[in-house]
Symmetry: D2
């Protein structure tokens, strides 16, 4: 079975494993206070053009979302999110488990627009009994979204402006951020994101690392006491250096961008193969996840050799599925898949 | 600086890193459903002589404690713990953050005794207004304790009996379990622990792994839906195989026991050096952590070459400090330390 | 201003105040253990034909919903509710604040149907990654709903059946239960409700009492330790007798039913006046709340004399508003309103 | 049985019940926005000499403690309290249930001293790994304490000063505040309390009202969004006027002070009777609660006519018990008790 079902099927980029081996016997202090973490922070601040940002390293996505949101909201506030947002559907109620409602905004493509945020905020405050309802407290977006779509610079600027007008921190879940930055046609840089968001994270788990997410807190007001939150929510790795070493490797000379671009390129080839064959796409993704709408018979056939994720039933005879590439995807496997698509 | 301050100063046992490299390009399904996790589960069940136990892999200690306790207690219940228990002092209120009080029992050495549990439970139920107070819901112990002490089989049997009489699950935090099993004079086996506890975990972070804790649920009543809790509390690693591979390596042929014994042996040599020199020990630890009471002048001198943890002031001129060994400790460094102690 | 905006604009039924005066100097033990509470429990069990039910008294609706749900769900479970359910919109995230997601089902009229519950439950369990999502844990309904609509016996039986098949406790919020029982055409008795639900409450605040809700727990599995939950959630009134005295008065000789019927009768007269005048109703309510769709000009006119609640904009020139009656509504005020409607 | 076991055995002061009757048919808006609440707020601000204070009305003590603490602390912070503080022992873990640890300070008499607070705060911040422990977030005191003792003005000024130096809001639980103000020898006025605390409440439940606590928020930084917290924690009474009417009555012409003084006077007579007879007191209480240490044989005898609370075993043949007076205590019952004490 050749796996295209997700972007975390392999271990880590070889250079990361090598670096772990090289540094294995070094003795370092714990909990993210070592020199590897410090170097990684420096590289990331530079990549983000955000010299004053706080950078922290956590282990996984759900944990990172929970920790950041816990650190921002007061108990009567909720997080705005697209109905399809990861925090709204796929974290077993982790946000509710820390006491907060996810205030969902309808979305066809996984993105939310500035006007939606504005409308919800205005509706809240114009309600005479607003204290009977959850107060909007922050805006959560994912980039790329769970559907592979991305925000344009203009869209993110509009969102950021509304958030600042409304006093709502803007938080970007960047579990797949590399693939968003490498998205074909994307005009958003890391520096733009750091300028427009209040806090975001740079995903490592799906982009070359064994695991790990780098949180970048740009807004000074959100920096205070964040290490307490990491510890309380179980994210403070004793051997914090493991995260430092990985992000050091990814950001010291552009590895993160390079392997992201590679994965997106392969994904676009798969996309082209499906569309050339006349199949439609459920979402217009220009990132590493592709969502073709395929006849169930075709899926059965492809499924003998390739694994994919089932997304949803489209109609009685078609399904939407997900094919993912990643930094680890082998070119020859993509070629073989494309050949098989052509021969369908 | 030669570090004896903790037992997580290095990376992982070389065999673990090699195995990660060997398996790096394998494609596996996510979230702990891969074959490495399955193998590791089999090895651990065997080592525990607990064929029906559920085995889950989590990333770190605080997360594991939180997840297990969340899965057991109802909202009005609390966890009994020694006042020195990790959950009572060093987890930034993680247990309270999930809604539960830690009901502390005084302890000189880090252990709690069966009679203490019994007395607290009886006091609760004999209070006419018991519903105005937190109901005892489980008993948390650490083995070895935070002070390096260990339970004897007789002590654990007594605790287990009282817990079963009182209807309280007994949960053992085994963050350093290897060093407890290898403790000189210990008569407790993994199989005993599995027989006497309802749930426990086998720590990897401090015993050879990069990170990772293996939770063993023996009591059927505690097994239901545990994967939801792992996910909700942020402990479900996308690349679950990383945990599987590490525990597979540690348990396939006795590596876990072997490296634990090595660390304890070195620690006992350090202990002997201090006592030979006439220094007392704060706790009677037969595990990898040693707590000598030293004159501050001596500490200043040793501190030029060796790092240790400050534990507490003993009197105006003495302090209790902690020297740790681990699977990674170099024999030559211990020899050098012992030489320096002799020359004090 | 004559108030029809809600059903809690006045104090309490005169007989309740008299009884409070009569008993004022009695000395009773606290926290709901007095003889008035005991009598009230007996009357309520009889009215529900549920001799084994546990009956508890709490102060208000949000508190009661929170307490009941906290006592039933495990942390990874959520409460199913109509999108319009009180717990989903008007409790400032109280359910999320105790850690649980509200899993909403779309509803036009405020009710949910057995098939919706079944579909959601089946979708959950058929998802291979179900532990990544919130597990359905109970079903919350309000009767009458926030829109004044009511369940028929057949609907409630179907819901109850599905809930039992799915292992989900069925919880009825009866903040306005009296008005539901008195609803014209209703075929549901208190005994039916007690037979078909696992837990429900009989609202006092809106039906004659100063305040207070009587929780009836029918399902034995939900009875354990409920008093701890009342205390922890702040609902255990020191002078519990205040609640006992009120429910004793309401249930000793049918006062609750009598004053509910009176309020519904007046509401139906108002409804008839609006429809006679050609106005439509937003919901087909046969209870004490009526929701006419009125031209904004008409509203401005009526608003000079009568208060009502704004519900929602219907179109550019019309709004949906709510007129409530209650046990305290004066017949002459209703007559005056009806006269003014006729003269519009 | 003549009850001295607590101070909530009767209903309410007759003037409160009369006022409830007089106003019963008034129609008012809900949720504390009516004119009675507004009047009560004005009276209370005046009594506290705190023209800018926010005043809110809640139903009971546990609820009020929970709501205030939830509104102040961030998730990684805890509340400092005496080990005997109500929040530390008698609220079924309500503070933990909202996510916060109670950081206890040892206390013999129920009070905490400025130096204890300072020491705990300094210990926290001087710990290099302070983010592994709960951060001090506020200081909770009760006045009078659960043991009937009171703070002097000098003590409260010292506490207040330390709290402000440490950036910790000072919160006074005044469930029995009236009895503290009337305490013989007390030099603390309501205005002093408002000047020295950041937030406190004036208890009604135990001092003349049917129920109700008036929260006074003096510190501007703590005022924001407090109504959301009241609603979320279930404390927003639909008929908020019930609370307004009661506090209006208690504060319009000094009733609160008058009935508090009456109760304290009677308590001091009981105290004098016990000490005249040679019995010691467990606590030096000058308020409405008295804690004599009595031979168990004496208790058995008194227990035939009078109820008291068991507090703790003193030795094999003696117990500490509590005798309470209140606004409702009958002079003749106190005289009879005193007579019986004399005749022991």
């Amino acid at each position: 079975m050749i796996r295209f079902e997700n972007d975390y099927a392999e271990g880590a980029h070889r250079r990361i494993l090598e670096r772990l081996l090289e540094t294995n016997e070094e003795q370092t202090p714990g909990y993210g206070t070592d020199k590897h973490c410090e170097k990684a922070r420096t590289y990331i601040r530079k990549a983000c053009d955000a010299a004053d940002a706080d950078v922290h390293f956590l282990v996984g996505g759900t944990q990172t979302n929970t920790t950041i949101i816990a650190s921002i909201l007061r108990p009567h506030q909720g997080a705005l999110s697209a109905t399809t947002g990861h925090i709204a559907v796929h974290e077993t109620g982790a946000i509710e488990a820390i006491g907060h409602k996810v205030l969902t905004l309808p979305s066809e493509d996984g993105k939310i627009q500035a006007e939606q945020v504005k409308a919800l905020v205005e509706a809240h405050w114009s309600d005479a009994a607003h204290e009977h309802t959850v107060q909007p407290g922050l805006v959560y977006i994912s980039h790329p979204t769970e559907n592979g779509t991305t925000y344009s610079k203009a869209e993110l600027e509009a969102l950021s402006l509304v958030c600042r007008e409304c006093g709502l921190p803007l938080f970007m879940d960047g579990a797949r951020l590399g693939y968003g930055l490498a998205s074909q046609g994307s005009d958003l840089s890391l520096a733009d994101i750091a300028r427009l968001c209040d806090v975001f994270y740079i995903g490592g788990t799906k982009v070359g690392a064994l695991f790990g997410e780098a949180v970048v807190i740009v807004n000074d007001a959100l920096k205070k006491d964040f290490r307490y939150f990491i510890k309380q929510r179980g994210g403070m790795l004793a051997k914090g250096r493991l995260l430092g070493i990985q992000f050091e490797t990814l950001f010291e000379d552009g590895l993160y961008e390079e392997i992201s671009a590679y994965a997106v390129e392969l994904a676009m080839e798969i996309r082209a193969a499906f569309t050339a064959k006349g199949y439609s796409l459920r979402y217009d993704s220009t990132t590493n996840q592709q969502f073709p709408i395929l006849p169930d018979a075709v899926l059965a056939k492809l499924g003998k050799t390739y694994s994919y994720s089932f997304w949803e039933k489209y109609d009685d005879t078609h399904s939407v599925v997900r094919f993912c590439t990643s930094w680890a995807t082998k070119k020859e496997n993509v070629d073989r898949l494309i050949g098989d698509i052509k021969r369908l």
